[in-house]
């Protein structure tokens, strides 16, 4: 399945706020570790190598 590039989260502002809350009170290093865990968790959820490769490319070229 190709990567979804159109809006796909019902409440984008709510999710953004939740993401910031998850990082609250963390040092730069702790935040980086949390993001790494998040990437790994979400990548496993996506599962599709094709979508993951596209996501890597999109992040890299942005």
């Amino acid at each position: 399945m190709p990567l979804i590039r159109e809006p796909n989260i019902a409440d984008p502002d709510g999710f953004y706020a939740a993401l910031l809350r998850a990082h609250e009170g963390l040092t730069g290093e702790e935040s980086r570790a949390l993001d790494a865990r998040l990437v790994l968790i979400l990548a496993n959820h996506v599962g599709e190598r094709e979508a993951l490769e596209e996501a890597l490319a999109l992040a890299r070229e942005t």
Partner: protein, 513 residues
């Protein structure tokens, strides 16, 4: 542990009169060179095997022999002995700190003659191979014969050899360079050996002790007994344990080798001081390979062609598989039954395998020794997640253990199970009277629920369509005929009985006739 009596060095005939050209000369009597000589002999091809030393290797070096290696050694009569003498294991446990994060079972199914892995020191394997080679009339084994120079032309290679009795020249149609990671032949030919050095030092120690450890492989990331680093422990026969400890790139290799430093390190691992150091070394890893393994009449086999880091047991096992794919081809070339291009097929297959081994080995080494920055962050977070989230456990990489690769294959194909597809090692299975692997010794047509044709120069094995054999070769199909190469790799397969001409054409294509 430079143990054992020296092997006898005899006066070579070439000192007194020029020797007739040998079909094959092999340089290096380690496991790879010795197996090559025995494998060629199995197909009726004589060889002369030269080694500059007269003893088995020092220390224990390779210890983990894979199922595939045991099957290969079984063909020359040594697989059962190795399995009997060694420590058989199939379970690996990986720890982070003091808790287990991952466990793997390398052979979860029954119905194979050989176990997943056997731990046995390399010098024991060499001793068995030397004994076998000395008893084999087609192997001319010459100790303390040092190759001083090599030159080749279109029809073969000529070696200048030095011995205790004086120098002589020896020529051969084909030269197998089985002379190890530092290959003097590779250097003499000026060939590049490109790849990657990992900036990390490891202590490797074999210790003797009474210790209660199950027959398993244990690997630790950041254990409390060796903070911030990794550790690996393997069990060998006779109360010998192999311990690998990551030391960091800044460690002083000379100091780290001394008992004053090694003993307290090991004490922390095993929890007591009641052990004896048998052998220690401090090393760094490389992953390197030659661009190609065939150079005219010279073939590079084993470590001379490619080296990997040890996590995954892909060095020694990879070398034996090089021989596995070479012996039948070279013997056929020598006998005039195959074209020289068959050796290019060998080269392509083993390059494919070397790339796979190097990729696996590099990935494992990266995981163990991450660079500062993102590599380190992701490694640490994979380990942290693995304790709670099952999905992260297979990402924990303490070494992916040697398994034969699937060769790119062009043989006839049918809708049958992937596990026995052309290019793969024909999976073993029990037969009513023994094991399938014991019957695959030359070109073989295996018929399951079908009668294989009578093809020239091919053995026929028929088996009932039931049990593990049917699972591994038939799947949902009612019948199959499988053409197996002399190295036990599937060449072609049909879901019907092919004609003799079809089977012979598949073989002839592989032999470049």
């Amino acid at each position: 542990m430079a143990d054992g009596q020296p092997f006898p060095a005899r006066r070579p005939p070439g000192l007194d009169a020029p020797e007739p050209r040998h079909p094959v000369a092999i340089v290096g009597a380690g496991p790879v060179g010795l197996l090559a000589a025995l494998e060629l002999a199995r197909f009726g091809c004589p060889s002369v095997l030269l080694d500059d030393n007269d003893r088995v290797c020092e220390g224990s070096r390779a210890i983990c022999w894979s199922k595939r290696s045991l099957e290969i050694m079984d063909r020359v009569g040594l697989g059962e002995g190795m399995a009997r003498m060694g420590v058989t294991w199939k379970v690996g446990r990986t720890f982070h700190g003091d808790s287990k994060v991952f466990e793997f079972d390398l052979l979860p199914e029954d119905g194979h003659k050989m176990p997943a892995f056997v731990n046995l020191p390399q010098h024991e394997v060499e001793r068995m191979l030397v004994e076998r080679a000395e008893a084999e009339p087609l192997v001319d084994l010459r100790f303390r014969n040092r190759v001083a120079a090599v030159r080749q032309d279109a029809s073969g290679a000529t070696l200048a050899v030095e011995t205790d009795f004086g120098p002589y020249e020896l020529s051969a149609g084909w030269l197998l360079a089985c002379d190890g990671a530092r290959s003097p032949i590779r250097r003499a030919m000026g060939l590049d050996f490109d790849g990657e050095l990992f900036e990390e030092r490891f202590l490797i120690a074999d210790i003797a002790m009474d210790h209660d450890m199950p027959d398993e492989r244990h690997f630790w990331f950041e254990p409390t007994f060796h903070p911030g680093q990794s550790a690996l422990m393997h069990k060998q026969p006779g109360g010998i344990y192999r311990i690998d400890l990551q030391l960091g790139w800044d460690a002083d290799p000379d100091a780290e080798r001394t008992p004053e430093i090694v003993i307290p390190r090991i004490e922390k691992v095993v929890g007591h001081r009641d052990f004896r150091l048998e052998w220690t070394s401090v090393y760094t890893f490389h992953c390197r390979r030659l661009a190609r393994f065939r150079h005219g009449r010279v073939l590079f086999v084993g470590d001379s062609a490619h080296v990997v880091s040890p996590f995954g047991a892909r060095g020694g096992n990879g070398g034996l598989q090089d021989v596995d794919a070479l012996g039948w081809r070279l013997a056929a070339v020598v006998a005039g039954e195959a074209g020289n291009e068959a050796l290019d097929h060998w080269d392509a297959e083993r390059q494919h395998a070397a790339d796979e081994n190097i990729a696996n080995s590099s990935r494992a080494t990266r995981f163990m020794t991450p660079r500062e920055g993102a590599e380190r962050v992701y490694r640490d977070q994979v380990l942290r997640l693995a304790a709670r989230a099952p999905f992260a456990r297979p990402m924990v990489n303490s070494g992916r253990l040697s398994a034969p690769c699937a060769y790119p294959a062009k043989g006839a194909e049918a809708a049958l199970p992937e596990v026995s597809a052309p290019g793969r090692v024909a999976p073993d299975a029990p037969l009513p009277d023994g094991w399938l692997s014991e019957r695959l010794r030359g070109w073989t047509l295996l018929g399951i629920g079908a009668r294989p044709p009578r093809a020239e120069g091919m053995a026929r094995v028929t088996a009932p369509a039931e049990g593990p054999l049917a699972e591994r070769y038939l799947g949902a199909a009612a019948r199959a005929v499988i053409l197996v190469r002399p190295d036990g790799v599937v060449a072609a397969r049909w879901d019907r009985a092919p004609s003799a001409a079809e089977a012979e054409a598949e073989r002839d294509a592989l032999l470049c006739r």
